[in-house]
Amino acid sequence: MANAFGIVAPSKRNIHVEGMQDYRPLAAFSFLGRYRIIDFPISCMSNSGIDHIQVYVTSNPRSLAEHLGSGRHYNINSKHGKLQLLFSTASSENDIYNTDVRSYMDNIEIIQRMNQEYVVIAPSYMVFAQDYDALLNDHIESGADISLLYQRVDNAKEHYLDCDVLTLNKQKGVLSIEPNLGTANNKTIFMDTYVMKKDLFITLVKEASKISSMYTLSQIISEKFNELDVRGIQHKGFCAAITDLKSYFDANLELIKPEQADQLFNGDAPIYTRTTDSCPTKYCDGAVVRNSLISNGCTIKGTVENSVIGRGVNINEGAVVRNCVILAYSDIGKNVELENQVIDKWAKIGHEAKLIADADKPGYIKRNDVL
């Protein structure tokens, strides 16, 4: 058992995925057909022996509460483990006050009562696999006060634009945390993942809230580089930041490739999710399916290429779906043509509609919409 409890941080305030986020927090976004984004941090924590996990939510908690349930499907022990959903009401005045620090302060007593010596904080808008037990051990061995997880990327001009970048010295000491302004392709992207002692975390949160009600955890840490030993630890393997519709769309399609998916899903550390007990998928006469990930419970009579299809989707005769992310229970009518679209849950597309968008600017069809 790891000597740490886990925190899945609230949505970052500068991130907004057009359309989809009106219905649920980013953490509850459907991802890769049968998952939700939050399945990744929670499963990885659970697989790493972290069995006390706090999930912070500031708005639309319904879908998240329903999905997480008791946490049993994440293999969290029902007696000595705990999955907590912690609320903090979002400020109505201005989104700028809705910081992670505010969420932690609202629940500071609960944090203080945790028995573990360390805390591991992971974001709810990123998809990656991480052995947090190894991360915790690296942190303890290094003797650092705070460790930050980062990824080296070579496409930061156009991707990760709402993320922060770290500047590191040769000893992996962190010199700065700054927004990615897209000035260069090679960057060290901060994965919004922290390891530190619980007591230090509480001190920082309290201090940040005293200085300014707009302060975030990364901002207060940025002020402490002189006093604290803050180091970076490198993550390798697939990492996607879901910061807008395009990055959501791209991350889904990227993971169709088995060599990418293999970096996230390996047999020893499975990604868990809530089952809906849907039956297998039926491919009918006339179905043409290529290079796609298809969830259970679908009925496919048309053509599907380079797409990710959620549970219980109907693709009717003559329909052509290319480069699309289709969320659960949508119905794609006869002879409909879709290209580069994100179709939200329960949408019904009929009347031989033709929706073609550019891959750089995927289209979005709202939940429950009938076209």
């Binding site: 890769l32 057909g33 049968r34 049993r72 499907h73 169709i256 088995p258 998916a261 899903f265 499975p270 990604i271 868990y272 999710t273 089952t275 007990d277 849907s278 039956c279 297998p280 998928t281 039926k282 491919y283 009918c284 006469d285 179905a287 043409v288 399916v289 290529r290 290079n291 796609s292 990930l293 298809i294 969830s295 259970n296 419970g297 009925t299 990710v308 299809i309 219980g312």
Partner: protein, 379 residues
């Protein structure tokens, strides 16, 4: 027992030797079916959906996997405070030695104490090797309305096939007047489905008497039901019209899987009002590769298809390599068909690997080819 005062007992003791190597290590009810299910998911889900709280699973052959599979009952929602699934192998008791279950009725007789501990008014006796969806609560209502001692679920079969079944002869009101096991000249085409609802008090008495009868084979069909008829008890037939399949042989198991491909198939597994519950595999959605072709198939999550599939059912974690062809076949969980191999009219058992460029099964074989051992190929 809070919901309808009926307890269910599933007879899952048989080895299912006609399923050959599929049941070498697991009992027949634990055999995989329909992509993601096991056979016993059907009676268990039917029980859960029919609001039955307590289910006993009577088993004696290779019960370890079955036991761990049903333990807790959470997969079927049978895990609230008043409900549960219990595996009941033969056991030694204070007044009797350890003995096998000598027959279907004996399996219940040896667990009278278990049933009594829940004090049910009715008991539902099922077999664990049939694929069907049925609302037992409606059958119970019929049993109550008829004020019956025993209600037997029956379904009409083609007259030609009637000699293969246990046939119930009924009067105009559906009262069973005669039971004939595999009659040469059947008087009715109503076949027993092996689903019985007894009023527990009546059955309990009959079982106690049956245990003492040295001439009895302790079987429901041979002994208990004829005795009920002789004693003038009220036996009624409950007609069931939906999909029902005995999957006792490799051919029939294959057929039942193939039925799922039929667009007119009556066994709709996609009915949100009557879900069949099963274990959840932590697996990615099914992957269909860039050069794959899928032409009429039933595929579940965790399957990986690079080659071509025609009229086949693919279970969790099955794999079809590049250029491989799977036609009219069933790939059980974890079965692998490597690059270039061709599988036709076959049932490939769990975790069996068909090597590169191997050819297995044939389109004009009389029976389905069961592949239960790895087939070495060019790799």
């Amino acid at each position: 027992m809070s919901q309808n005062n009926m307890l269910a007992m599933i007879l899952a003791g048989g080895r299912g030797s006609r399923l050959k190597d599929l049941t070498n290590k697991v009992a027949k009810p634990a055999v995989s079916f329909g992509g993601k299910y096991r056979i016993i998911d059907f009676p268990l889900s039917n029980c859960a959906n029919s609001h039955i709280d307590i289910v006993g699973v009577l088993t004696q052959y290779e019960s370890v996997l079955l036991n761990s599979y049903v333990a807790g009952g959470g997969r079927w929602g049978l895990d609230t405070r008043d409900s549960g699934v219990f595996v009941l192998p033969p056991r030694e008791k204070a007044d009797t030695g350890l003995d096998v279950y000598r027959g279907t009725a004996d399996a219940i007789s040896q667990n009278i104490d278990f049933v009594d501990s829940y004090n049910p008014e009715y008991i539902l006796v099922l077999s664990g090797d049939h694929i069907y969806k049925m609302n037992y609560e409606e059958m119970l209502q019929y049993h109550k309305d008829q004020n019956a001692d025993l209600t037997v679920a029956v379904r009409p079969v083609p007259w030609k096939e009637a000699p293969r079944f246990g046939i119930m002869n009924t009067d105009d009101e559906g009262r069973i007047t005669e039971f004939q096991e595999k009659p040469k000249e059947p008087k009715s085409n109503l076949a027993s489905m092996g689903i019985y609802i007894f009023t527990w008090k009546t059955l309990r008495k009959a079982l106690v008497a049956d245990m003492k009868n040295p001439d009895s084979s302790h079987d429901f069909g041979n002994d208990v039901i004829p005795a009920f008829l002789n004693e003038g008890k009220k036996l009624v037939a409950y007609r069931f019209e939906g999909y029902w399949k005995d999957v006792g042989t490799i051919d029939s198991l294959w057929e039942a899987n193939m039925d799922l491909l039929d667009s007119k198939n009556e066994l709709n597994l996609n009915d949100p009002g009557w879900k069949i519950y099963t274990e959840d595999a932590s697996a990615l959605p099914q992957y269909i590769g860039p050069d794959a072709s899928v032409d009429v198939a039933y595929i579940t999550q965790g399957a990986h298809v690079e080659g071509s599939v025609k009229k086949s059912v693919l279970f969790t974690g099955s794999y079809i390599g590049k250029g491989a062809k799977v036609i009219d076949s069933v790939l059980m969980p974890g079965a692998r068909v490597e690059d270039g191999a061709v599988v036709t009219r076959a049932l490939v058992a769990n975790n069996v690997k068909i090597g590169k460029n191997c050819v297995v099964g044939s389109a004009d074989s009389e029976n389905i080819t069961l592949v239960a051992k790895n087939v070495k190929g060019d790799d």
